[in-house]
């Protein structure tokens, strides 16, 4: 069954921050969401700390987050039949989020990891005599 990544974006506008009371209500709703779709939600999802680093052409900066109106706050991995099913799950997420739904390409399938090293080893071995 295809897998999807749900990317949750929050606003950086302090005025859009929920109040403690609203957060408590949200917590309960999130928990209910996780329970409801526990069969579809895969392990590995997590929240992201607000700060970070940006490495661009070897130059490290503190990240582009300050400028952006939204930042990636958390992500979840889910399993669903197709985009319609994945979107249906995302739509039931509580709160006022922007959620990006992306299907995983499946590149990271097992038993392929050694190809680069073996192939490059073979090619270098083959070219050494010249």
């Amino acid at each position: 069954m295809p897998k999807f990544l749900l990317i949750f974006r929050h606003s950086t506008d302090p005025r859009s921050r929920p109040s403690p009371e609203e957060m408590q209500a949200l917590g309960g709703q999130w928990y209910a969401w996780m329970q409801k779709f526990s069969a579809s939600i895969l392990p590995g999802g997590d929240g992201l700390k607000p700060d970070g680093r940006l490495v661009r052409s070897g130059v490290v900066t503190d990240g582009p987050y300050v400028e952006a109106k939204e930042f990636v706050a958390s992500f979840s991995l889910i399993r669903a039949d197709d985009y319609d099913a994945a979107v249906a799950i995302a739509r039931e997420c509580p709160g006022d989020n922007v959620i990006e739904v992306r299907e995983l390409a499946g590149y990271a399938l097992p038993n392929r990891g050694s190809w680069w090293s073996t192939s490059s080893a073979t090619s270098s071995a083959g070219s050494s005599p010249s």
Binding site: R17, P18, S19, P20, E21, E22, M23, Q24, L26, G27, W30, Y31, W33, M34, G45, D46, G47, P50, A73, S74
Partner: protein
């Protein structure tokens, strides 16, 4: 647990402010907010930990240390936090007259003389009670911008002063207790002015006021008869909350309230506080107002109300805390006892310069008493004036209904032909006979 996040917000802000100083309140609020966000993310995924309050404290504390480190100003403030280590046991030794409870301590700091009255309530709601600016604006019937301004002003004043948060000594506590009680009282009064749409938040204000007063009463700093009297007053009023609101959210006239819907647990609690408030020789406005509220609770039916006793108490109240509103309530009691004309005579005795022209309650009562005397055009004029100064939707609705009543009896000055008063009614007139202010 109900309001857990909100209450923890206030507690954590108070605790961290104590470590970092009032100066760093911005930072403290930010890290507490961030800790709640982390809790939201983590608890939804992993479930709520065994000790959620401790989890929140540790998270907020670590975030504060991180933030201070980033600022490189940690050299001064960090030792305070780092000292705590893993154990968060409060210091064992403490002077007997020192405030041990951080939220109470912060409340006393907020009531510093330099902080304007209007800012104290908004600031207490923000920092101590954990309400958002939008929620406070709804509760205080003002704009978010106004609330923001008041909160900022309080914060600026406290920052300028860099108030010694450590331990106001006992004499200072006593001196500031009046101001603390005034803030709690104001909080409660704001909550009592219930109107349709915002009933839930306003009920919260009342609950907060009771929570703070309860904390105060349980602490040596608040071990005073006035505190107990205020608690009694709030209990008696709270007992009637459920009966005040009709099923559709409108307000029910006091006369028509279903007394069996009153919360008798609250009444009993109020009686206990009232009995304990009798200690000492101090008679505060809270004592008198609690006495008035008790008289209302005590009457088996509206007709049984001892208006003579209530009128006396309003006289006492007006002496302790002179206010045209007290004179107004005194007049209402008089009207119940000796008829509408007696009430109007009382109002006529108030010096013209003392008449609160912009206070809708005054005009509403003048309208009601004249209406009962069959002077419909006078009543209409008074109610129009009341409407001019009224903003709450439920109050406006009530006044419009009464104005319609006036129009339905053109030229009639006969009591028998008087239109039946609407079954449900709003508190604009009634409210002024309550001591809730």
């Amino acid at each position: 647990m109900e309001h857990f996040f909100r209450h923890e917000f206030g507690r954590l802000v108070a605790v961290l402010t104590r470590s970092l100083g009032v100066r760093r309140l911005d930072l403290v609020e930010d890290v507490v907010q961030a800790a709640l966000v982390q809790a939201l993310e983590t608890w939804a995924r992993r479930g709520v930990p065994d000790d959620p309050a401790g989890w929140l404290y540790r998270t907020a504390r670590n975030l504060a240390i991180d933030a201070l480190r980033r600022e490189r100003t940690h050299a001064r403030a960090l030792p305070h936090l780092a000292d705590g280590g893993e154990r968060e046991a409060p210091p064992e030794a403490r002077f007997a007259d020192e405030i041990g409870d951080e939220p109470l301590r912060l409340l006393f700091v907020i009531c510093h003389e330099a902080v304007p009255d209007g800012s104290r309530v908004a600031f207490a709601l923000r920092t101590l009670c954990g309400f958002s600016t939008a929620e406070i604006a709804r509760g205080l019937l003002t704009t978010e911008a106004n609330v923001q301004k008041r909160v900022e002003r309080a914060r600026d004043r406290l920052r300028d002063l860099d108030v010694d948060f450590a331990s106001p000594a006992a004499p200072q506590l006593r001196a500031r207790l009046d101001a603390v009680l005034a803030v709690i009282y104001l909080l409660f009064c704001q909550g009592c002015h219930a109107t349709h749409a915002d009933v839930p938040i306003r009920r919260d204000l009342c609950d907060e006021a009771r929570r703070l007063a309860g904390m105060l009463a349980g602490h040596p700093a608040g071990d005073a008869p006035a505190v107990r009297a205020l608690l009694a007053l709030m209990c008696f009023h709270a007992a009637r909350f459920d009966a005040r609101v009709a099923l559709d959210g409108g307000l029910v006239l006091f006369e028509q309230q279903d007394r069996s819907a009153w919360n008798w647990g609250d009444v009993r609690e109020g009686m206990a506080w009232l009995a304990r408030s009798a200690a000492g020789d101090e008679l505060t406005r809270y004592h008198v107002e609690a006495g008035i509220a008790w008289e209302h609770c005590r009457a088996a039916t509206f007709a049984d109300t001892d208006w003579g006793r209530i009128a006396e108490l309003y006289d006492v109240l007006d002496r302790i805390a002179p206010s045209p509103v007290h004179a107004l309530n005194r007049a209402v009691a008089e009207a119940h006892r000796h008829g509408p004309q007696a009430g109007l005579d009382r109002l006529a005795a108030v010096a013209p310069e003392d008449v609160p022209a912009r206070y809708p309650g005054w005009h509403a009562v003048v309208g009601e008493l004249n209406f009962r005397l069959g002077r419909y055009s006078v009543a209409e004029g008074a109610w129009r004036e009341a409407l001019r100064w009224t903003s709450a939707s439920a109050d406006r609705e009530f006044l419009r209904r009464r104005l319609d009543d006036c129009r339905r009896v053109p030229g009639l000055a006969d009591d028998r032909e008087r239109p039946r008063r609407s079954r449900r009614n709003d508190g604009a007139a009634r409210r002024n006979t309550d001591s809730s202010g």
